[in-house]
């Protein structure tokens, strides 16, 4: 009924006398519209009732149709003339559905209003992120000036800032966790005046010595040096492990039992912190993977994507347009280059292939050699720094920061050299990018591992066995080894931030000023800076891994990291808008989100290994910290276990026993098989539907050919059909 009237609407309100082609187009449109309108109500529960009762539904559908404006007006007039046939209590269902939808959209708008740095991220990406109904009008004047100044930077740069925002929130929430369970109880108990328990008597007094506070007069600049290296007044504070007590408070006041076990809280908070970070990473990875799967992988249909969706219609200004066109040209060139290289590689003679592969193997060994050389330098610098840590003054500060300096230099120079090596290797462009990224990741994370390994060697005295005989760790150099490790991580974090700010002030701003105001060949060649996404992201991952490694030894490190990342966000934003030109080579944002999270997961695993090793293998310090009276850090768990009430203890034993874990394992295997089967079925159905589409297209072609064949046979029949 409505569709017939819409067809009539086509007839009387079309514009003048439509040509043959136009009428054909309208007919095709109307046939498509009829199928669309038939399909849409089928998806909802009751068709005709819903369409007639809620006046919004058909108008919503009409807005989605492709009729010109005049036709839509006519169709709507016709609809409004119809009297609703039935009006009963079924409208409650629609009202509820409408209310839920409205509520969800209101909540989404409200949350978006509060989202951290939402406007900045919009400006950077040049696009609205999630929900944009109210934002554009308010932003309009500022937006246009910004776009005319800079042009948007694209999805790759935006994904860096989104990743940074995720890390800020993760660190802040982890800090709240640690503050709630460890920091605040410690502060409360210390202020109440509860003293730490002394450790067991069967250990020599040598091991119990710990004097972190400096003796005698202190030079005034020592304050500043201590702030930077975590020694002196900062060492014996809430910042580091050594300050926390091993108090196990059990009070039984009138009518209430209050007990708080600080060592247990410390250990469990650390474990939950790791688990929480893992869950956050996995959830985000799941979301990104879902997007990647629905778009079927970014490389599969790259040409058609670039041609049809590459152009940004919101691009304003001739400069931005030219830049966008060059960008598209460059992307197509990259893909064409890959094709050409593939064809070239296929046409190589055997001799050429052998030389190419042997050159690649040689260059691989050169790169590995460079990376190993960096590792040796880091190990040597760490040993040197630990040996000379008691030198006073600025030189002492330099020695304490030596490992950080060497790591930063290595992470800067070695990728540059590897880029030069990559020119000789002649991989296709996509493989070059992947290889460079892998090398950079290995360099960054394994260099941190080397630093930790060197520290561990020193603490467990691998070189001089006699130092560790008394206290099971090197008590002469490290009276409180956990605090030393925490200090090392603190120094790494601080140095990272200082280097970023120094680079911004000393390198990026001057470069831009020189390039802008002094035009000669050299400055033209160097040009303004580009915001290189992969190396910046690896810097973030490195910083986060340092924090994870140090969280057990320096509980306030997540807070310091939150502040550091917030400062970094604003610094990078300033440098992006003032110093950088929009990049010619864009970084693919869909696959990059998964890549960033995978590298972050790799860093998490490294930090987990360190934590497990510290908790399970190394003897805690006798002189400081919450675990001073335990053989190993994890021993606190069995001990507090024994204080649990009988019922809870039996329940936990049951969970740990085989009677529970084997059925649990079997059930989880069943679930996993179910999900694997479901995934394979979806994949098969997608392939089947695609084949069906192909067949439908072929059927259509066949039918068109048949019609063409039958046309000359019966002209009168066809004239009747065309009316």
């Amino acid at each position: 009924m409505t569709i017939e009237q819409q067809r009539q609407g086509l007839a009387f309100s079309g514009s003048g006398h439509p040509t043959d082609q136009e009428s054909l187009r309208f007919r095709r449109v109307s046939s498509r519209m009829s199928t669309q309108i038939y399909h849409e109500p089928n998806s909802s529960t009751s068709l005709a009732q819903e369409e007639e009762q809620s006046g919004s539904e058909p108008t919503l559908e009409l807005r989605n149709t492709v009729f010109p404006m005049a036709l839509k007006k006519a169709a709507r007039q016709v609809q409004q003339m119809q009297v609703p046939a039935q009006f009963n209590g079924g409208s409650w269902k629609q009202k509820r559905i409408k209310f839920v939808r409205q509520f969800k959209s209101n909540v989404r708008e409200f949350l978006y209003f509060f989202s951290l740095w939402g406007k900045t991220l919009q400006k950077i990406g040049g696009r609205n992120l999630v929900y944009a109904s109210k934002q554009p009008q308010r932003l309009r004047p500022r937006w246009q000036t910004l776009l005319s100044l800079t042009g948007n930077f694209g999805g790759g740069v935006q994904s860096y800032f989104i990743f940074l925002r995720f890390l800020v929130i993760l660190n802040f929430v982890s800090f709240l966790l640690i503050a709630g369970f460890v920091l605040i109880p410690s502060i409360v108990f210390r202020s109440v005046g509860i003293k730490p328990e002394s450790s067991k008597a069967d250990v020599s007094s040598e091991c119990l010595k710990y004097d972190p506070n400096p003796q005698g007069l202190v030079v005034f600049y020592e304050f500043f040096l201590d702030l930077l290296s975590g020694t002196g007044f900062m060492e014996y504070s809430y910042l580091f492990y050594g300050y926390y007590n091993n108090s196990v408070i059990v009070t039984s006041l009138v009518g209430s039992h209050f007990s708080y076990n600080i060592p247990l809280a410390y250990l469990l908070t650390a474990v939950f912190y790791f688990a929480f970070c893992l869950i956050c990473i996995i959830v985000r990875m799941g979301k990104a993977a879902r997007v990647a799967v629905t778009t079927g992988g970014s490389d599969v249909r790259s040409y058609s994507m670039i041609v049809f969706t590459g152009w940004d219609y919101g691009c304003l200004g001739s400069k931005a347009t030219k830049l966008k066109q060059r960008n598209i040209y460059y992307r197509l060139q990259v893909d064409l280059e890959e094709e050409r290289l593939k064809k070239h590689a296929a046409s190589l003679t055997l001799c050429n292939k052998v030389t190419l592969h042997s050159l690649r193997v040689l260059m691989f060994f050169v790169a590995v050699g460079l990376i190993v050389a960096t590792f040796l330098a880091i190990a040597r610098a760490t040993t040197f720094s630990q040996e000379n840590s008691h030198v006073p003054g600025i030189l002492g500060l330099f020695y304490t920061y030596l490992p950080s300096i060497v790591i930063t230099l290595g992470n800067f120079l070695v990728p540059l050299l590897c880029d030069q090596i990559a020119l000789l290797e002649k991989y296709p462009p996509s493989a070059t990018v992947v290889v460079a990224l892998l090398r950079a990741v290995v360099l960054r994370l394994v260099s941190l591992g080397i630093l930790l390994f060197t520290l561990w060697k020193q603490i467990m005295c691998h070189d001089s066995r006699d130092k560790c005989n008394l206290c099971h760790y090197n008590h002469e150099d490290y009276q409180c080894w956990e605090t030393s490790v925490g200090q090392e991580m603190y120094k790494l974090t601080l140095f990272d931030l200082l280097v970023s700010i120094a680079l911004l002030v000393l390198v990026e701003f001057p470069r831009r000023m020189v390039v802008d105001h002094w035009s000669c060949k050299l400055t033209q060649w160097v040009g303004r800076q580009e915001f290189v996404v992969p190396s910046n992201v690896l810097g973030l991952v490195y910083g986060q891994t340092v924090v994870w490694t140090g969280a057990l030894f320096c509980p306030l490190l997540p807070l310091i990291n939150t502040v550091k990342f917030v400062i970094l966000f604003y610094c990078k934003k300033i440098t992006l808008f003032y110093n950088c030109r929009p990049a010619l080579r864009t970084f693919r944002s869909t696959s990059s989100a998964i890549f960033f999270l995978a590298v972050l997961l790799f860093g998490w695993i490294l930090a987990l290994v360190v934590m497990i090793y510290s908790v399970a293998v190394i003897h805690p310090s006798f002189a400081c910290g919450p675990f001073r009276s335990f053989f190993r850090m994890w021993k606190i768990v069995p001990e507090s276990f024994s204080t649990l009430p009988e019922g809870a203890r039996d329940f936990l034993f049951f969970i740990g026993s085989q009677a529970f874990s084997i059925p649990l394992f079997a059930i989880s295997c069943v679930f996993m098989c179910y999900f694997i089967a479901l995934a394979s079925i979806y994949g098969k159905s997608v392939a089947m539907l695609r084949a069906q589409l192909k067949l439908a297209g072929q059927d259509k072609q066949f039918l068109v050919k048949q019609i063409e064949k039958m046309k000359p046979l019966s002209p009168q029949h066809n004239e009747g059909e065309q009316d």
């Binding site: 514009s15 082609q21 187009r25 669309q36 006046g55 919004s56 989605n64 492709v66 010109p68 404006m69 005049a70 007006k73 709507r76 007039q77 409004q80 696009r127 609205n128 944009a132 109904s133 554009p136 937006w143 999805g155 997007v291 629905t294 778009t295 079927g296 599969v300 249909r301 040409y303 058609s304 994507m305 041609v307 049809f308 969706t309 590459g310 152009w311 940004d312 219609y313 919101g314 691009c315 304003l316 001739s318 931005a320 347009t321 030219k322 066109q325 598209i328 040209y329 197509l332 060139q333 064409l336 094709e339 695609r690 589409l693 192909k694 439908a696 297209g697 072929q698 259509k700 072609q701």
Partner: protein, 187 residues
């Protein structure tokens, strides 16, 4: 002032829902933009449905469109006469399809029509070549253009007839995550 316009709009576009109040202010804003292009041609009073068409040159000189290499095709697709001369209805249609509220299928349909230079309801090789040249300012060589066109048809053509129909195009657009955000003009 534009009370007549407001009342006319109230009849036709429906003001039952709260969201349409926002859209009615957008419509009024768009009407003023339309009028600013040629104040002497466009009357303030639309109750008698005056037949006013602005020529393509004025539409193409709008700041949102003037640097867009596809502006001519956009104007042709949305205009009634197919030449780019737009009435107010066509103008509103154009910006409503290119706004962020328009659904994906609608945008895909009009994008298809924009890229279909010869209006034969298929994107054939010559259409693709023209699209590519507009996208890259004629900087690709002939061979490169041919190679890219072949690749595009290979990737997107499902029914193997050597050209892209609307279904092929829509199927490909469904796989593009950022189509909705790139096919969008802010006004």
């Amino acid at each position: 002032m534009d009370l007549c316009f407001r009342s006319l709009k109230a009849q036709t576009w429906g003001i039952n829902k709260p969201s349409s109040q926002r859209s009615s202010s957008t419509h009024i804003r768009l009407f003023y933009r339309y009028r600013d292009l040629a104040p002497q041609l466009v009357p303030l009073d639309y109750t008698n449905h005056p037949d006013v068409k602005l020529p393509y040159e004025l539409i193409g000189s709008m700041p949102e469109l003037k640097d867009n290499p596809f502006r001519q095709r956009i104007a042709e697709v949305f205009s009634e006469d197919g030449e780019g001369n737009m009435t107010l209805d066509n103008f509103l249609d154009m910006f409503s399809v290119l706004s962020e509220m328009a659904p994906r299928d609608l945008k895909a349909y009009y994008a298809f029509k924009i890229y279909d230079f010869n209006n034969d309801d298929f994107i054939c090789k010559s259409d693709l070549e023209k699209t590519l040249n507009k996208l890259t300012r004629n900087e690709l060589t002939e061979d490169e253009v041919k190679m890219v066109c072949e690749k595009v048809i290979d990737e997107a053509d499902l029914d193997n007839d050597g050209r892209l129909s609307l279904e092929d195009f829509q199927h490909m657009i469904n796989r593009a995550p950022d189509f909705l955000s790139t096919f969008h003009i802010r006004i």
